[in-house]
Amino acid sequence: MQNQDGAVADREKESAVSIPISEVDDWANFADDDIMQQQSAIHAEEAKKIPFVGDKYLLCCNLTVLASYLLYAVTLFQGNSLSVVSLSNTNYPMPMKNGWTVFIIFAILITCGIEKFCYMELQEPLSMLAAEYESGSPILLEKIKVLDQQYAAIRRTRGDGNCFFRSFMFSYLEHILESQDRAEVDRIKGNVEECRKTLQSLGHTDFTFEDFFSLFLEQLECVLQGNEDSIRFSPFFSQDELILRSRDQSISDYVVMFFRFVTSGEIRKRSEFFEPFILGLTNATVEQFCKSSVEPMGEESDHVHITALSDALGVPIRVVYLDRSSCDIGGVSVNHHDFLPTSANKSNAKGGSTVPVKPFITLLYRPGHYDILYPK
């Protein structure tokens, strides 16, 4: 699976821009795996460096877990009045237990670090991004400078093949949380119902997707404050809560899967429209494409997925491209593309509310990976 992901990433890299072969090696910098490694590697540093509100909480949480396992470790050494420090004492006569303890602590730290904390990172200033490319291409550094003028922060998502959907999830729910735009929630609910009908008409059994649909609708209710449901579920729904939910696999993965269902349904429903794009991308039929590249978790997203999701839910999405393309003489510019829902879907929206032309979701695309950008 890892290999396959790598292959997909490679393909995306190639299709994204045409680049001289001599530069290909450098593009390894963009691979998903690499981004993941960087993410976990710099995570500890980040936690110390960036003074965000969520930061303190995370550190506490981490320390609590660590402390409880150290406690557990100490109890393993039954009765020996052993200080925590002596865990590192290699001369201790019970190497097996010692080994186990250290193993457990590491396992927990790794689980916390990778499993939980990397689905959705904290906001970071763009200078953090620049630091990543310090020794990299000057074009990229120039582009990051340009981005820095327009965007206040970046939030990273885990590079597990679901990054587009997860970024979209967080960004959308965060927008609703901040704007409290009830009209938008009512509108998207209308679209979600349409998607449900689409899947039914495509012959899917209701129960295979209804859990995923209801979980997404539940998240919508939760981020709308003052709502009866939100009070029942969580009286103090805050951004921290949203971050926690986005990191909770049982919620996060279900919402990602909900988007995959919606995307697949939209592509199948309008297969004539999507067919040429899919052929250009993978040389597969629409059916095969949905089965192999949309419905399974961990399959990366391309413009086909983004177009379909944006159309199905009626949500415009801006994607900013951080790559080495368009480095003309005289000023570096950063390309972006707005995915605007088609007019056909606008008419589906209940109450005839018009879809805003300026996207409120902005994602940063680096070949093989999506993160969230925050405009100034």
Partner: protein, 152 residues
């Protein structure tokens, strides 16, 4: 204890009882919704015709986000089925999606019987025979079909 996986499996079971696809049956073992027994009948007018092949499905709490472990209990002779009964099928591995329910899984396995994927052989002898000596392959399949009636 009712978890999302168990709730979903109850619905899978209900669907399989109310609307069973042709040539397929399955049910959870007594007192354990996470472990199912199933039978796939060999499709008509194929060498598999008449065979009754037993399988087990082991579900984990992360179902339907992760696929169950499906295994033939009956002895099989098929390019994509290992000697231990485990099955090489894309939707049970990296192409899994919660969109498949138990009925869909069993239907996919049923169609795999007559439509092997020679690109991912799990039984090299069966794979070679399937592409080089169909007559002998069919004979071996008929043997397996007969065994499926008597085997415990």
């Amino acid at each position: 204890m009712s978890t999302p996986a168990r709730k979903r499996l109850m619905r899978d079971f209900k669907r399989l009882q109310q609307d069973p696809p042709a040539g397929i049956s399955g049910a959870p073992q007594d007192n354990n919704i996470m472990f199912w027994n199933a039978v796939i009948f060999g499709p008509d007018d194929t060498p598999w015709d008449g065979g009754t092949f037993k399988l087990t499905l082991q579900f984990m709490e992360d179902y339907p986000n992760k696929p169950p472990t499906v295994r033939f209990v009956s002895r099989m002779f098929h390019p994509n089925i290992y000697a231990d009964g485990s099955i090489c099928l894309d939707i049970l591995q990296n192409q899994w999606s919660p969109i498949y329910d138990v009925a869909a899984i069993l239907t996919s396995i049923q169609s795999l019987l007559c439509d092997p994927n020679p690109n991912s052989p799990a039984n090299s002898e069966a794979a070679r025979m399937f592409s080089e000596n169909k007559r002998e392959y069919n004979r071996r399949v008929r043997e397996i079909v007969e065994q499926s009636w008597t085997a415990d």
